[in-house]
């Protein structure tokens, strides 16, 4: 996805070395319980905190948002590790389980909107919501709640679903599942801004998703785990056409 933006390189981060080689990190969707468990087990949490404190941009989507938040409700028994840094209160699985997952068109923030200003097809899956945001947190997009959801949010009319605070960007929905790269562009702009400050020549952005390993031309033998890696999963088109298999096949690498 990110590589569709000019001059951006993305790769997968699984350990400290890969993290140190990155200019920005995306923490994608997944299960935040699992994510925190594994990051803790491999001792990555202090590294990630240092990475954030060095003002490197981080973007969390869905589970990544929970991971970045200072406070979360609805955690597993015994709590879970959070990276922290984002001054807000997040409600895990605010919108309920899988059968309450949904798609909605949300507005893009005015400062980043493209000329057409078209809404964004956002996919919410067992999604969290941001109930309270601290003073330093800029709300980029909100989602209006229906009556039932308002009750759960103790009368709040809308919840924030996209926020920015310094070098941290967080979204409750999954821009990685649709072919619209506007949120990706928001993040890349953040990385570029940071790089311009640092006068760093390279512009590489690391994405924590599966990527196809490039074959080394000097070595005809490709290890089995690189040979068999499947291509990226398809993403859905930015507007729902009503077709069932509405996959965007144009941009598959």
């Amino acid at each position: 996805m990110l590589r569709r933006l000019p001059g951006v390189n993305a790769s997968e981060v699984r350990n400290r070395q890969q993290l140190e080689a990155s200019d920005g990190l995306i923490i994608p969707g997944g299960e935040s319980t699992t994510m925190a468990n594994i990051a803790e087990r491999w001792g990555l949490i202090p590294d990630l905190q240092n990475f954030a404190q060095a003002e490197n941009p981080l973007w969390g989507t869905c589970a990544g948002l929970i991971f970045l938040a200072n406070r979360a409700v609805g955690q597993k028994a015994g709590g879970q590790a959070l990276l922290g840094g984002l001054d807000c209160l997040v409600h895990r699985n605010f919108f309920g389980g899988q059968i309450h997952s949904f798609e909605a068109l949300i507005s893009m923030p005015a400062c980043f909107a493209d000329p057409s200003n078209s809404p964004f097809r956002a996919v919410f899956i067992r999604a969290p919501a941001i109930l309270e945001a601290g003073p330093g947190v800029e709300i980029l997009s909100e989602y209006e709640l229906d009556a039932e959801e308002q009750q759960q949010a103790k009368g709040q009319k809308a919840v924030a679903v996209a926020v920015k605070s310094g070098n941290l960007l967080a979204t409750a929905f999954h821009p990685e599942l649709t072919d619209d790269v506007r949120w990706h562009a928001v993040f890349v702009a953040l990385v570029r801004e940071r790089l311009a400050k640092r006068q760093h020549p390279a512009t590489s952005v690391e994405e924590k998703v599966e990527v196809k390993a490039a074959a080394d031309p000097s070595n005809p033998y490709v290890p089995v785990w690189q040979r068999n890696r499947p291509a990226d999963l398809p993403v859905f088109r930015s507007q729902d056409s009503g077709e069932r298999y509405n996959w965007d096949l144009q941009h598959v690498s």
């Binding site: 699984r14 969707g29 997944g30 299960e31 319980t33 699992t34 468990n37 594994i38 087990r41 869905c62 589970a63 609805g74 955690q75 597993k76 028994a77 895990r92 699985n93 309920g96 389980g97 899988q98 059968i99 309450h100 997952s101 949904f102 798609e103 909605a104 068109l105 949300i106 507005s107 809404p119 996919v123 919410f124 899956i125 067992r126 989602y143 209006e144 999954h174 599942l177 649709t178 599966e210 290890p223 089995v224 785990w225 068999n228 890696r229 499947p230 291509a231 999963l233 398809p234 859905f236 729902d240 069932r244 298999y245 509405n246 996959w247 096949l249 598959v252």
Partner: protein, 298 residues
């Protein structure tokens, strides 16, 4: 504004989306709250709630059915990760019940005794997403056509023997590789041969992979088995009897999760494979009286 926030519940994109969030993870069979907590602590991305693990279904025989809703509900209360449950093949009322319970995913599973020997559930009728088993590409795409949002290669559940999982994975991956070399004009006959919809075959050829997440299942019982399946190109792994039929379930569960994360780093695999205690016993799939679950549906 009212127009622009119109919700679309349970679209195919949303159903496929959850499965994509499970990518690179391990889904574990659990039969009670304690096992579910062990699985969650070990780093499972989801749990499959069922009354008997497949190894016990094999041992006890009889008709295997959907689990008691009480058990499924209690497991949902115990953990924050998604909870899946199994319905019999073609038994759409069991699926309706599981959907009403709020299961995050329904597995239309050959491990339970099929209720319909010809038809699968029309999964487009449901809000809950489905995962289905397959032995080859045709079977996988037939399930996607019926509305499955996630696929798993069947293997042979409850055997602790990875050979069938490998066979089915090779069949799917190999067919996709062959498909990519085919001329577009040849796809019509190929669709007829493997009995799958032409449109999905075209998309699979273009993508070079199944259009939905594909996990391996049925026989994975060690970290090495899990890493083997990952190296063969699946997106994640189901572990059934392998964990809670072994000597030290908590340790083994953790080791399998680590093996799936670091599937291509043999040094880490060696480390996590050490001192796990007894593995489940396992069954040879070539004996005469072996009862294949995978062959119960196509």
């Amino acid at each position: 504004m009212a127009e622009s926030t119109k919700n679309l519940k349970a679209s195919f994109a949303v159903k496929v989306g959850l499965a994509q969030m499970l990518k690179g993870g391990v889904i574990m069979d659990v039969t009670n709250q304690d096992e579910a907590r062990i699985a969650e602590e070990a780093g499972a991305v989801a749990v499959m709630a069922l009354e008997r693990v497949p190894a016990d279904i094999r041992k006890n025989g009889g008709v295997a059915r959907m689990s008691d809703p009480t058990m499924i509900t209690s497991i949902r209360k115990a953990v924050t990760i998604p909870v899946m449950a199994k319905a019999r093949i073609g038994h759409y009322v069991e699926a309706q019940i599981l959907e009403a319970l709020g299961c995050d995913y329904i597995d239309e599973s050959e491990v339970l005794t099929p209720a319909d020997d010809a038809h699968h559930i029309n999964k487009h009728n449901f809000q809950a997403p489905f995962v289905c088993g397959c032995r080859d590409l045709g079977e996988a795409l037939r399930r996607v056509a019926e509305g499955a949002a996630m696929i798993r290669t069947k293997g042979e559940a409850g055997t602790g023997n990875v050979v069938e999982a490998v066979r089915h994975c090779r069949a799917v991956m190999g067919a996709i590789r062959a498909l990519q070399t085919m001329d577009d004009d040849e796809l019509y006959v190929y669709a007829k041969e493997i009995r799958a919809p032409i449109e999905l075959i075209r998309q699979t050829k273009h993508l070079g992979r199944l259009p939905v997440v594909n996990f391996a299942a049925g026989g994975v019982s060690t970290p090495a088995d899990a890493a083997l399946m990952m190296q063969m190109g699946v997106d994640g792994v189901f572990v059934g009897s392998g964990i809670f039929k072994s000597g030290d379930p908590a340790k083994r569960a953790r080791a399998i999760v680590q093996a799936v994360t670091h599937y291509n780093e043999p040094k880490i695999l060696a480390e996590v494979s050490s001192g796990l205690g007894e593995a489940m016993v396992g069954i040879d799939c070539r004996t005469k009286d072996f009862n294949s679950y995978a062959a119960r549906s196509e």
